[in-house]
């Protein structure tokens, strides 16, 4: 069934197409342009990693897809579009939006500790979504809940569905969150830092679970993380975000082997590597600027080791051949790259 659906989709518009998404927050110091012109596509069954430092706009991007950004103060600016199989979700009415949320696009949040309602048993929370979107009766929904809890790797699901969130470990809670998200067989799963709050060993288990479920259900995953290691493990393609914009986009292998944008380069250099022992970890100097006052021209210029005169003018997302793009003038003038970057 999944196969047939996929061929249908390939013929039509892409599963998810985000174009020129701009989400601004009104503030006393002027509008904070948290997301400022993000575009990407997500095809059925693929995993796109959205990577960047804290404050670069990854999470706001995710929330904007389902119009979950609190308004006020946030606002998705006119001209943005989020198209699910060609249907613009930013134009959808409230009724349709509620169908899409959880039904077509489901989210898993970062904090399994606080993302579950503390006064309801986990079984009821999974059950709730199943009944909301699939219209099953009480008994069928209960059976489905147990099945799902078992599927996401919760031992003794029959017993555990009666447990309250505080009686479960962080990993178990994240499994419950995943079960809730999968309850309605969404075609897109948006996972916002799904493993950040977990132990490393549990992280690996959760990632494996997500990959398994993806294979089984054929859904697309938008994985939002600051951890390049995780992206390397599970993503097909990567989009690197900086200061509210996507600065580089490529498939995983290419990006890791030969990053184009100096920011990506910096991120990769900052990952600890046991093969190349160094006394100090490389760090990108400075920090992400204030979203209400992005720098003129290239937004990475103040922190960039390669910056030169032309960087005063903002580059577009330049095609670099082989389905990769980078928002950097170095794509046009590779000779400007300084080989040995002073530490």
């Amino acid at each position: 069934m999944t196969g047939r659906r996929e061929t249908e989709r390939r013929a039509g518009p892409p599963l998810l197409e985000v174009e020129d998404l701009r989400t601004w927050f009104r503030g006393p110091g002027g509008d904070a342009r948290a997301v400022d012109g993000v575009s990407f596509r997500l095809e059925a069954g693929e995993t796109l990693g959205l990577v960047g430092e804290s404050g670069c706009g990854k999470s706001v991007t995710a929330l904007s897809l389902l119009r979950l950004v609190p308004d006020p103060p946030g606002r998705v600016m006119p001209g943005s579009s989020v198209r699910l199989r060609g249907e613009d979700l930013l134009e959808a009415d409230a009724e349709r939006l509620r169908e899409v949320r959880g039904g077509e696009i489901a989210m898993v949040f970062q904090e399994p500790m606080t993302s579950l309602n503390p006064v309801l048993t986990v079984g009821r929370q999974v059950d709730e979504g199943i009944r909301r979107h699939r219209g099953l009766g009480a008994r069928e929904a209960a059976e489905e809940t147990v099945r799902l809890l078992g599927r996401v790797g919760i031992p003794e699901p029959e017993e555990r569905r009666r447990a309250y969130p505080h009686q479960l470990s962080g990993g178990m809670r994240q499994r419950v969150m995943i079960a809730m998200a999968l309850a309605c067989r969404p075609s897109i799963l948006v996972a916002d830092e799904p493993t950040t709050a977990l132990d490393v060993t549990v992280q690996a288990q959760i990632l494996e679970l997500l990959a398994d479920l993806q294979r089984e259900m054929g859904m697309a995953i938008l994985l939002i993380t600051h951890d390049l290691g995780i992206v390397a493990q599970v993503a097909d393609r990567v989009a690197v975000m900086y200061a509210g914009k996507i600065v580089e986009e490529a498939d995983v292998e290419t990006l890791y082997r030969r990053p184009l944008h100096p920011y990506t380069e910096g991120l990769l250099a900052a990952v600890p590597d046991l093969d190349r022992r160094r006394d100090r970890l490389a760090a990108i100097p400075g920090r992400v600027p204030d979203p209400a006052r992005w720098p003129e021209g290239c937004r990475f210029r103040p922190r960039c080791p390669h910056a030169w005169g032309r960087c005063g003018e903002e580059p577009g997302l330049l095609e670099a051949g082989g389905d990769r793009r980078a928002r950097c003038w170095l794509v046009r003038e590779p000779a400007r790259r300084r080989e040995e970057v002073p530490e």
């Binding site: 949320r101 009686q167 998200a181």
Partner: protein
């Protein structure tokens, strides 16, 4: 203590059958002997109910011949109480220690820390007092030795001090103070509960509406609440009651109408903070509508401080009713209420102290009990005490 309990259970199991008969004959005895207060409470209730049935069997039997609603309610209470004691003893008292020891506690126990409540000595005392009070109020038709409004030979029987015939004495009309105080308990408690139920419903509605709507609606309704709160409650009560003919229903309604503002504020504050919680965001991301999010995710999490406030509110309301009745604006004579009893005994305080003193003590005990239970609930419901949320 737990060691003694374990030993008691072991011997009970060894002897087998006798302990089962013992639980039926004297429920709670084994738990009480193991030093558990809940056992003593069950045993006490059991004894009281049987004592009532034996001593006032004729009065109970009269229910079948000529009983009013009050009598039937009392009969139902008696029957339920007698049935509940052995069941409670077997299901909870004797089974409870096993649950504490085993790991099976994980499934089914809610986020409320009942153990913290049980450890709270004063709260347990308050709860026992309230339980007793409620039982007494329900059983009043059987317990009261006389009709509360009967005036026999007024001149001969008035201002009698406490004696065997009139345990708490008689008032200026020769009415039995004990009987009147018992009936007064019914009035005070029902006014307290019903008025608080009204206040909590209105307050929750207004508070939740303001918190969810936000913006102008929030500002307007909360400034309205501030305005109402700026009147002293008693003045507001007197003004409202003075407008109409005083009656029981009116007093209840007016007490409810002047008591909801605190709840509204609490609920609004809770809703404002809870609607920013991750799990509310998650529910929104799963496609639930505002109404469902409010009733299923926001309100249940907002209710704990409301429960505490309501418990304390019952005490306050009983006090307010007493004050109104004392001023002659509340429950009207001849209907007995603790407040108007105190009022009627005020001017004869020096030579017939019992008329005002006993209802006064009853008011104090009741209000203190509600406050103790409220404090205990506050501790038990405090998330900082709840396991796993630290």
């Amino acid at each position: 203590m737990s060691g003694a309990g374990a030993a008691g259970r072991a011997s009970g199991r060894a002897s087998g059958r006798p302990s089962r008969w013992l639980d039926l004959l004297l429920p709670g005895l084994r738990a009480a002997r193991a030093g558990r207060a809940s056992g003593a409470a069950v045993l006490g209730t059991w004894t009281l109910l049987w004592g009532l049935l034996l001593l006032r069997g004729a009065r109970v039997a009269a229910t079948f011949r000529s009983g009013g609603v009050d009598d039937w309610v009392a009969l139902a209470t008696l029957a339920l109480g007698l049935a509940a004691c052995p069941i409670a003893a077997r299901r909870w008292l004797e089974a409870a220690p096993r649950e504490d020891a085993g790991g099976s506690r994980a499934a089914g126990s809610g986020p409320v820390d009942w153990a913290a409540f049980a450890r709270h000595r004063q709260a347990s005392v308050g709860l026992v007092l309230l339980g007793a009070l409620l039982l007494i109020a329900l059983l009043t038709p059987y317990l009261a030795p006389y009709d509360p409004n009967a005036q026999h030979a007024v001149v001969a029987t008035r201002f009698l001090p406490p004696s065997a015939a009139h345990p708490l004495g008689t008032d200026r009309f020769g009415r039995d103070v004990l009987s009147r105080a018992l009936y007064g308990a019914r009035i005070s408690l029902s006014i307290g509960f019903v008025a608080v139920a009204i206040a909590v419903s209105v307050g929750t509605l207004v508070g939740a509406g303001a918190g969810m709507a936000g913006g102008l609606a929030d500002t307007v309704s909360m400034r309205g609440v501030d305005l109402l709160l700026s009147f002293p409650r008693l003045v507001l009560l007197i003004a409202l009651v003075a407008l109409f003919e005083p009656s029981l229903a009116l007093v209840t309604l007016v007490l409810g109408a002047t008591g909801w503002m605190g709840t509204a504020r609490i609920v609004r504050g809770q809703v404002l903070s809870i609607r920013e919680e991750d799990y509310v965001q998650a529910a929104r991301a799963l496609g639930f509508g505002r109404w469902r999010i409010l009733t299923r995710h926001v309100l249940p999490n907002a209710l704990t401080p409301v429960i505490v406030a309501a418990t304390l509110g019952v005490g306050n309301t009983i006090l307010a009713e007493a004050a109104l009745s004392f001023l002659g604006l509340g429950v009207q004579p001849p209907t007995a209420s603790w407040g108007n009893m105190v009022a009627s005994g005020r001017d004869v305080m020096l030579h017939a102290w019992w008329i005002a003193a006993f209802p006064g003590v009853a008011i104090v005990l009741t209000v203190v009990s509600f406050n103790l239970v409220g404090d205990g609930l506050r501790d038990a419901l405090d998330p900082r005490h709840a396991a796993g949320l630290r």
